[in-house]
Symmetry: C2
Subunit: 451 residues, 2 copies
């Protein structure tokens, strides 16, 4: 007996995400009869998504209803699940920020302004949910997952679960070693974008020695010859392995994109640590390509939406995505139990981190809820050099956000490893805050009374 | 009825400190009949100190006995109090380290090797005390107080109290404002060398507005015209006031010597933030002067030791020093209660810091012990930008010390704001560890298995 629910998607204009979600819903018979409400501030995009979703479901004969709205409060009405995938500012705006910072000597955005707009949006959504659908689950699927989920769970009573793709990196390791990803048992807890492979078991045996052997016998050859076909293909890069060598645990997914400044100081360093042809996803070579690919996909979707004779099943396929949103909903609603990689308040799951900090850990999901597995502790060195410093970064970002203290933004700019003088940080901060698109932010952040 | 005790001074060759201690003991009638054992590895210096102490006490007619030894275990025998003021490496060695690092582009020691030798010595002393005088108090009076006291209290059962002079900076503020230091009530908790003036009361009224007024009306003039007469005269410097402006609480004593890298990047920055003529105590101008002054004092003491006709009371005076060691001993032994600024395991005294971290807080000292005052919390911004990052620094230093993991030293070198490339950090670390004087350290720190 299927359970009909209502899922509201905030930021549904993210076409690929929304279509993937629809696909997974169509393929989950347990959820037949459900309704999906797409919400975005872009009405054209919304209409396009709505059409595609309805046609795709019809082609598959799935029993789902769709609606769309540019009114967020209306979209939240009677929601059982809210999936927030919204990003307030465009990729083009991100680029304008990087270009401005580059004029002050910062390579590819190596000075941080924080996530004011996305955090404010997340908090607004969670607060509206408190009024409109207080029992709904919020599945946070846009960045910053770590800071945003911690903020929302502290400031509201909403149940929040953050999701990310990074942990799929484990499968890349398996494939590189010639192992069947389905026969791997693994665990990689931490903070979002900062997770570490504590256990890596292949058919009942510790598979870390296979990693060591690969590094010893094939690493150098791989780093010399491997050419990435995706901008994010850095799981086996020299940089990721260097981090493994320092910590004795492999950094997974987005984790090697962080780490010390020396991996990221300029394009030469990036290529050294993260390989050809782009030096990983965070360079002036990779980023435009990534954005171009996104835009091409939107263009292709728009074309399909307007071509009523095209088969959407042919175009998008009819197998499940790797996304966790729908399986988690199915687990919660229909007790179709599964284990997932989630971001939820710690409360003892990961040792040495305060209870009210959102951690990324495996969890058992069924009708009893999203119950994290208490995974124990990460090695102290990882805690002290990687996890706890990022805990402080997050706490500072939230304190700055909550107090509107501009001197904390300045401190942050000063702390960039690429800042060479006090005046440089003052100048880049002031010019960033003077951007037209940053008016609200400039208004929010003021210097303290003693300044 | 005076209480006769035995005080053992480790590193007693520090002439000024030892003579100050003797002076305070001579002037504390409650402790008449006590014995002081001077221990050092330098026999000539020891003999000189012993002679001076005995003559000084005799001139004052004080009832104290003295002995000396180069054998530490013998010196600890039957001690009631052990005062450790030892520094393993000379000022000249510190300079050799700075000169070497300068060749790799680091200004005045802005790459840190940690405190291996002093930590090892402290731990050795505390462990020997466990065997020889397990009930004695250890009064740690040499650096690093914070890291060392935390290490010793974690690794041994010895009662440890660390002392420092930094808090006297409050009196400099008072004097600058034209206030009588004796009429000030204040509190400045934190970590050693990282303390913040949370309360500053003059004759029952909040005196912070007087600081604000001084800054507004006299600050610029002072910074333009003030010429320091002591290398450590930076309490009212532009740098200290800048930190106050950021945090809303004044940094006290050695606190402004830390803070962000931008205060310390080169001599120009140092002079801007900490004034003429030396740019504070940590510059190539100030440091040789500081060492020269120390050496002149030792030379003068040696001269006096050899001039049997000289009056030591005339030379050294007969008023109490500002040191806390003897008054604390008097409090513990004779219940002569007082309030002191001490470094002891936190256990709830300062909110938001783990129990087993040594904090600097006020304490009531009497026969019941050294009982810290639970001072509450520092402002969250100070915690997140100043206190907790230094907590992590300390934990990393102790983890590196305890595990001998060389990659943690490398990480530390990389994290220096002055490191411009990965190879630079590798090279400076290896050359520092290759110094003859660092043989034990190089042997202790090895790269991990995965390296």
């Amino acid at each position: 007996m299927p359970s009909a629910i209502k899922v509201s998607v905030i930021g549904a204009g993210s076409a690929q995400f929304s279509l993937g979600l629809v696909k997974d819903l169509c393929l989950t018979e347990n959820l037949a009869g459900s309704q999906v409400t797409f919400m975005d501030i872009n009405p054209e995009r919304l209409e396009m998504i709505h059409k595609l979703a309805a046609r795709y479901a019809a082609e598959l004969g799935a029993d789902l209803r769709f609606e769309h709205s540019t009114d967020r409060r209306a979209a939240l009405h009677e929601a059982d699940f809210v999936i927030n995938t919204a990003a307030v500012k465009s990729h083009h705006h991100q680029r304008a920020i990087r270009d401005l910072a580059a004029r002050y000597g910062y390579y590819h955005g190596r000075v941080k302004l924080g996530n004011f707009y996305n955090l404010r949006l997340m908090l607004d959504v969670a607060r509206e949910m408190e009024q409109i659908c207080p029992d709904a689950w919020l599945i946070q699927s846009g960045n910053p997952v770590y800071e945003g989920c911690t903020l929302m769970t502290r400031e509201t009573g909403i149940k929040v679960c953050g999701l990310c793709h990074g942990h799929h990196g484990v499968h890349e390791i398996a494939r590189t070693l010639g192992l069947d990803p389905l026969r791997i048992t693994w665990q990689a807890p931490g903070l979002n974008h900062n997770i570490w492979l504590t256990h890596f078991i292949h058919e009942g045996k510790d598979a870390y020695p296979l990693i060591d052997e690969w590094i010893a016998t094939q690493g150098e050859e791989y780093w010399r010859t491997h050419v990435a076909t995706r901008t994010h293909d850095i799981q086996m890069s020299r940089g990721a392995v260097h981090q493994y060598r320092m910590y004795g645990r492999f950094p997974i997914g987005d984790t090697p994109r962080r780490g010390g400044w020396w991996y990221h100081s300029d394009l030469g360093a990036k290529k050294h640590w993260f390989g050809e042809p782009w030096g990983g996803p965070d360079t002036e070579l990779a980023r435009p390509l990534f954005v171009e690919n996104l835009e091409q996909r939107v263009a292709e979707m728009t074309r399909l939406a307007n071509d009523l004779r095209a088969s959407l099943v042919d175009s998008f396929g009819s197998t499940n995505t790797r996304e966790q949103q729908v399986p988690i909903i199915d687990g919660l609603v229909n007790n179709n139990e599964g284990q997932f990689q989630v971001n939820v308040p710690n409360r003892g799951a990961l040792e040495g981190i305060p209870d009210d900090v959102v951690v990324e850990v495996p969890a058992i999901v069924n009708q009893m809820g999203i119950q994290p597995i208490r995974v124990g502790a990460l090695p102290p060195k990882i805690m002290l050099e990687q996890i706890l410093p990022e805990w402080l970064d997050m706490e500072r970002e939230l304190l700055a956000f909550n107090t509107g203290d501009r001197s904390m933004l300045l401190w942050n700019a000063l702390e960039s490893h690429q800042t060479q003088s006090y005046d440089q940080a003052v100048a880049v901060l002031e010019e960033l805050l003077a951007m037209d698109e940053h008016a609200d932010m400039a208004d929010h952040y003021r210097f303290p009374d003693t300044w």
